[in-house]
Amino acid sequence: MTIEHVTVEALIKIVILASGVLAGAAWLVLVERWMAAWIQMRRGPNRVGIPWTNIRLFGLGQPVADGLKFIFKEEFDPAHVSRGIYTLAPIIMLVAALGVFAVVPFGSMIPSLGHWMGTEPIDLMIAPGIDVGIIYVFALSSLAVYGVILGGWASNNKYSLLGGLRSSAQLIAYELPLGLGILGVVLATGSLRLDAIIHAQATTGWWFVFTQPLGFVVFVVAAFAEAGRLPFDLPECEQELVEGYHTEYSGMKLMLFLTAEFIHMMTASVLIAILFLGGWHVWGMTPPEQEIGWGEAILRVAVLFIKTFGVVLFFMLVRWTWPRFRYDQLMALGWKVMIPLGILNLVAVAVLGEISRDQYGMPWGSLVASWGLLMASWLAVAWVAPATTDNRPETTD
């Protein structure tokens, strides 16, 4: 592999991926609006189609119109902001949000494309040589905190500062359960590479959602909070903080923030699909053989995309059906429930793995134990903090 070879291959993948993800984000916004309309029993966006005709195409032209609108809106820097940081913040957000996809495998591999590309099959991943995989994902998604706090501080606005502070406190609080959920998966796989994690689930046939249900719950809740999606959208709650850290943003910078947040949700969905839902694996359809032809490769890509889309739909469904947490409830859930549960899950995975180390696959005893753990922790949380009690914030020390 020469340097030119790697560069060209990577550039092709990068262009496909970036345009794909950005376009996907644009049309998923449309899907989200449709879903909101469906839940609220009204018609969503359904008018914008092909211009100067009467063809409406169910509103599929809406994202294009939105994008054009953003371009022609004013790009305004108020006088009171710190301009350098103010401009830097949305750039950091977008780079961190999209940069995550460097190590995410989209499906597994496609066969060689012929002479110039060599004879080896091609990984459907931008940087197949990066072994740190999930840690890279973790690191880049932590960088999103910088975008939030820098944007909130540089805006020099009280709403923005409060939103930025709240948001960074929320993001760092939920990063710990996120990491604990990932640790359980890494412990069961023995590798940090995402494709190796999928492969481990495919060879045993046991997706980690079945073997580590508690870890799955913890990870999904933390992923919702990290993406700032609705039960946890305090950083930008419209009513209280007027969009939080991007109150002072407008035009293209605002679009970068909004896109980056949406991409965070897509990243979270892909990660949930890969880490816990088996990635490209479905029993009987996509067996884990290494030698794959075109049909198999396309099938794997399709399976992964369908799973990801399903998780995205779940995100949207939750957004339009759940109320928002109060801030003290949010922090209490993160520190007092999710982190202890995450540690519990980690210890359980470690102990069960150590006990059943020599056996292949998933013994039934461990399976029963991990589901029992989920039930026990659910009951314990419900016992300690039942949903019906007076949950007003404590006013005394």
């Binding site: 990068i14 999209l98 840690i135 760092i172 922090m331 520190w335 980690l346």
Partner: protein, 132 residues
């Protein structure tokens, strides 16, 4: 030269170009109209009383410190999580005589997690997570 990191650098460079390019695009095509009210910080129509950069609740600082401690402790667990299962990890270390047995590694990690839990209990009891 190790080429593994090259695609990542290319991706980051590409994204920087895209992000800056989009901002420039808006700057070129958008209108430019300034005004005294438009330059003010937005506070729902009221005139701001003072700068936003003032002291804020110390609690955010405490949470940030707690996060740093726990996050670094979690990062220490990743090498163990990889080495525990992978064939070149703990088992290899036991075979080559680096460590006397898996139990010692496991006991060490459990001790470490115990300290982590104790730290959490301490912070909890000290009211670090109490927001009102």
């Amino acid at each position: 030269m190790n080429l593994a990191i090259l695609p990542v650098l290319l991706l980051v460079a590409f994204l920087l170009i895209v992000a800056i390019g989009l901002i420039l695009l808006g700057r070129i095509f958008g209108p430019h109209r300034a005004g005294a009210v438009k330059e003010m910080p937005y506070e729902s129509g009221m005139d701001p009383i003072h700068d936003a950069r003032r002291r804020f609740d110390i609690r955010f600082h405490l949470v940030a410190i707690a996060f740093l401690v726990f996050d670094v402790e979690l990062l220490f667990l990743y090498p163990w999580a990889v080495a525990s299962k992978s064939p070149a990890g703990v088992d290899q270390a036991v075979v080559s005589g680096l460590v006397v047995g898996r139990e010692l590694v496991f006991a060490g990690v459990l001790f470490f997690i115990l300290l982590l839990v104790l730290g959490l209990i301490y912070d909890w009891r000290k009211g670090l997570f109490r927001w009102r």
